[in-house]
Amino acid sequence: MNNLLPVPVLLPMLGAALALMLGRRPRAQRLVSILVLAGVVGVAGTLALQANAFGPQTLWVGAWPQGFGIVLVADRLSALMLTVAALVTLAVLLYSAGQEDDEVKRETPVSIFHPTFLLMCAGVSDAFLAGDLFNLFVGFEILLFASYVLLTMGGTGSRIRAGSIYVVVNLVSSSLFLIALANVYAAVGTVNLAQIAQRVPDLPEGTQALLQFMLLIVFAIKAAVFPLSAWLPDSYPTAPAPVTAVFAGLLTKVGVYAILRTQTLIFPHRPLTELLLVVAAATMIVGILGAIAQSEIKRMLSFTLVSHIGYMIMGIGLATQAGLAGAIFYTAHHITIQATLFLVVGLIQRVGGSNSLDRLSGLLITSPLLAVLFIVPGMNLAGIPPLSGFIGKLGLLSAGVQVGTPLAWFLVATSVVTSLLTLYCIAKVWNRAFWGTPVAYSKAVADEDEEEPLGRSEGPMPPIMVAATCGLIGLSLLLTVFAGPLYQYATEAAGSLLDGAYVQAVLGEATP
C-alpha cells in the first residue's frame, strides 16, 4: 500500500480543472500549472527512491478485496520514467510560459493550453503507473485526446492537415488496442497485467503468439517503429515548439515503455528477438536516411526521433539484462535530449525567423549563446563521448556484443552507422545555419513559403525560454555526471523486470 501512487495522476487533473477556471488570468494559470508539475516531480522522485529501496510499490484503488479493483504499480522502471517525464514537462511548461505572451495568445483566444497540457501529463502518468491493460488504454486515451487538441491548436490550415492524419492513425491503433484487449480478456479472463502474466503460459501456442503480436503492433504504432512510423514526421513539425518538444520527448516513449512492459512481463518466456532486432535496424536506417534528406530542422529532428526509437527497440529485442538496462537508460536520455533539441529549434526559429536550412545563416555571429545551446544537445544526440548519449549507446553495443549472434552483430554495426549519420545531420545544421554570414530576415520571403507555420514571432530570446532550455541541457548533463548510479539503477530495473518482482508485488498483497 502506498498512497502516493495516484498523486501524479490526480494532481495534474485537479490542476487542469483549476487552470481552466483561471482561463482569464494567465499569470495565476501559469503559477498553478508550474506548482502542480513541481509537485509531480517531487512525488515521482519519492516513488523512484521508494521503488529502489523497497521494491515495486502498489495500490489497489478503492481497497476492493482479492484484487478485483484497479491497481497502480510503480516499480523501478515506471518510477524512473515518471520522474524524467515530470522533469521534462516542467521545463517545457516554463519555456512556453516565456513564449506565450506573444505567440500562443495570438493563436488561441481562450487559454486552453495549460489545462490541456496538464491533462496530457495526467495521461502520461496514468499510462506509466497502470497495473492493468484497460487502465493503460485509458491512460493512452487521456494523453492522446490532450495531444489532439495541442496539435491542432489555433486551427490553422497546416495544423488541421497534420492533425487529421495524426487523429486517424491513433484512432486505428486505439481500435486495435481494444480488439487486443477483448481477445486477452476472452483468453485469460482478466486484464490485470500480473494475472495475465501468470495465466498466459497455459494458453495454446497460437493464442499466445496472436496476443503478443497484437499488443506489439498496437504499441509500435504509438512508438513510431519503422513500418508503422510514417505518420510521425508528417504530423509533429507543424505544432508550436513546446508542443512538439513534449510530444517528441514523451508520447513515443510511452509507446516504448508499453512495449517494454508487456513484452517483458507477459511474454518473458518467448521474446521476439529476431523480429524486434530486424525492425530496430530498419527503424534506425530508414529514419536517419529520411533525416538526411530534410532541409527543415524540425522535420529533420522528427526523422532522427524515429531513427533513435530503433535503439530502444534493439535493447528490448536483445532481451538480456544488459540489453534492457541499455534500453531503459537510453529512453531516459532520449526523452530529455529530444525535447531539448525541439525547444532549441523554437529559439532558432525566433532568432532566425525560419527553421529552414535554406534561409538560415550565420547564427553563430547573431547569437553565440544559441550556438552553444544547439551544439551541446546535438553532440549528445549523436553520441559523442563523454555525454549520456554515448553511454547509452555503449551500453546497448556491449549488450549486443554479449549476445553475439550474427543478427546482434549486424545491429551493433547498424547502430554505429546510425550514430555517425546522426552526427552528419547535426553537422549539416551547424554548417548551414550557424556558419556563414548572417542574413537579414525578410518578411516577404517568409510569406511566400506556405508551409511556414503561422503566428511565428521573431525577436530576441526571452530569458525564461533560455533558462528553461538551459535547465533541460543541465538535466542531460546531470545524466552524464551521474551516469554511474543511474546506469546501476537501470540495470537493477532491468533485473527486476526479469525476475518477476512485479507479479509478486501485485499479487502478493492481493492474496494474503
Binding site: F134, Y148, G157, V167, Y185, A186, A230, E451
Partner: protein
C-alpha cells in the same frame, strides 16, 4: 468459456466495414468507419463476456447465473471514448471544410515534395547518366 458465433461474425462484419470506410479520403466517411468499427469492437467484448445472464447485482441473483460485469464496464468506457473522438473528428472535418472547402485528408508534405520532383524530372547535381554496354565498354552520355 463459450462464445457466441453469431456475435463474433457480426463483430467481424462490422470491423471489416469500418476498415473499408477508414480507407476513404473524406473525414466524414472516416468518422462513419470509426463508429461502425468501434461498435464491432464493443461486440467483441460481449463475446468475451460469455453467454447472457442475470444482472450482476449481489444478493439478488445467484452468482453462477450472473453475466460477467467487467467487459460491460469496459464497453461503457469505450463508448464514452468513441463519443469524444467523434466530436473531435467532426470538429476537425468542419474546420477543414471552412479552410479548404472539402474535408479530405491530404497527402503528407514529403509525398507531395517527392511527386513534384518526379514530375519536374529533377536530378541532383552530382548525378551522371552512365549507360553500360554489353561489350564491357562503358559509354558516358554527353
Amino acid at each position: 468459456m463459450t462464445g457466441s458465433v453469431t456475435l463474433a461474425v457480426v463483430a467481424g462484419v462490422l470491423i471489416a466495414a469500418g476498415v473499408y470506410l477508414l480507407t476513404e479520403r473524406s473525414l466524414t466517411r472516416i468518422l462513419v468507419g470509426v463508429l461502425v468499427m468501434s461498435n464491432g469492437v464493443n461486440i467483441l467484448f460481449l463475446v468475451a463476456a460469455g453467454p447472457a445472464g442475470a444482472p450482476p447485482i449481489l444478493d439478488m441473483f445467484p452468482i453462477d447465473k450472473m453475466i460477467d460485469p467487467l467487459p460491460l464496464a469496459m464497453v461503457l468506457t469505450a463508448i464514452v471514448i468513441t463519443m469524444a473522438v467523434s466530436a473531435f473528428v467532426v470538429t476537425v472535418a468542419y474546420r477543414s471544410f471552412q479552410l479548404n472547402g472539402h474535408d479530405e485528408v491530404s497527402d503528407d508534405v514529403e509525398d507531395r515534395r517527392i511527386r513534384e520532383l518526379a514530375e519536374r524530372d529533377d536530378v541532383s547535381d552530382s548525378y551522371e547518366d552512365i549507360g553500360f554496354s554489353d561489350t564491357g565498354e562503358d559509354r558516358v552520355s554527353e
